[in-house]
Symmetry: C2
Subunit: 221 residues, 2 copies
Amino acid sequence: MARMPTSTRARLVDAAFALFEERGFHETTVEEITARAGTGRTTFFRHFRGKEDVVFPDHEQLLPRVAARLGTATGTTREVALREAARIVLDHYLDEGTTARARYRLTRTVPALRDRESASAQRYLRLFREHIATWTANEPDGELRAELLAAAVITAHNHVLRRWLREETDAVDAEFDAALTRALATADPSAGASATVVVHTSSTDVDQVLRDVRDALTRGG
Amino acid sequence: MARMPTSTRARLVDAAFALFEERGFHETTVEEITARAGTGRTTFFRHFRGKEDVVFPDHEQLLPRVAARLGTATGTTREVALREAARIVLDHYLDEGTTARARYRLTRTVPALRDRESASAQRYLRLFREHIATWTANEPDGELRAELLAAAVITAHNHVLRRWLREETDAVDAEFDAALTRALATADPSAGASATVVVHTSSTDVDQVLRDVRDALTRGG
DNA sequence: GTACTAATGGTACTACGTACCGCGCAACGT
DNA sequence: ACGTTGCGCGGTACGTAGTACCATTAGTAC
């Protein structure tokens, strides 16, 4: 090894990932990690709260950035805010590159790490939900609609992210835009009108649509 | 088996909940739980895989029941299957009654338990997603649409469940139906129909709705 | 009585995570 | 040059979760 241009923290991360892939997560002890990194055991717990945290290093720094972006949304720019806030998270993974894919392999393998990732994803969901809920506070069913929209955005993000992690796509930008468009279109019925109509058809036969509408309305009430 | 007014397992659960609420989760040791339950420490780990599992006792039995209900869905009955599958989970919590609310209080307080609940919720999400994905396999963007629909169903379920847990409602049945309707309507563009209409209004002024529809359609097309 | 099974209790062990103490070292001010 | 302060690191000891293994008891069949 070189004469360590890398920081202690980086050496611990590298050692941990290497050992986790070689021997497995549970089969690797913290002492083995620190031995390979050339540090003491105490140092490990100074840099990471626990053995699992070494796999998810910096999500705590990401949440406030996402919150900040969501906080700047004003009336007409909310959809853009949702897109860009989700983009912050996606870009973070893209920047990590190899590390993100290594983490993905681990989380697919180790149940404890999978649960951990679910928990952190839930924090993003909660963050989005709370912001959106402030926008929909005075609408009917505002809470539920906020939760549905937040879930749709997070789901679309995760969908594209997973495809990138599995190397199933290279057109990340296009797929992200398309997925977010679908999520926003389906889950955000732009309230305010006395009626919100979502038309899922490629036909332009307005009369047929109106007949369907009248049938649906008169049948229901 | 000693003669018992309550089973060993039930005594352990009761002791654990009591101590967790008295002293907190992390401040309670397994030894204290077993002491109050009048058993040995080993017995605890025979009944529960870990200290956290005593709070979530029987989710493992619920998943296959939900899977079975989803498996019986056939073409036209898919929406009903989704509703009833989610209902299985909701009914399970309702049957637990006080226990479910006690668990909710704990999960709101203890981060470790909150994460644990997020992880088990993710398993339900995954289960729904995989079943729905088999239905939408040959549709464009089938994967993404399956994920969005699954997320919407789970979100609607969780919304009503949380409201019941917080004792914010007594009309669980009505709210569940309404929430699921909204989730299915927004996230499932039931392909094939010439138009799907979602009306978000309490007014019964059909003519006004139709004017809105015509305006929206002629403006867009 | 003997043999088998199931549930329990006890003991010992590994490893995570924490508390606490001490060391080395660089950056100061005087 | 000399202390002082702060920071990062290493070491030791400890509590506790979770596992492995063995001993014990009670019920059951023969």
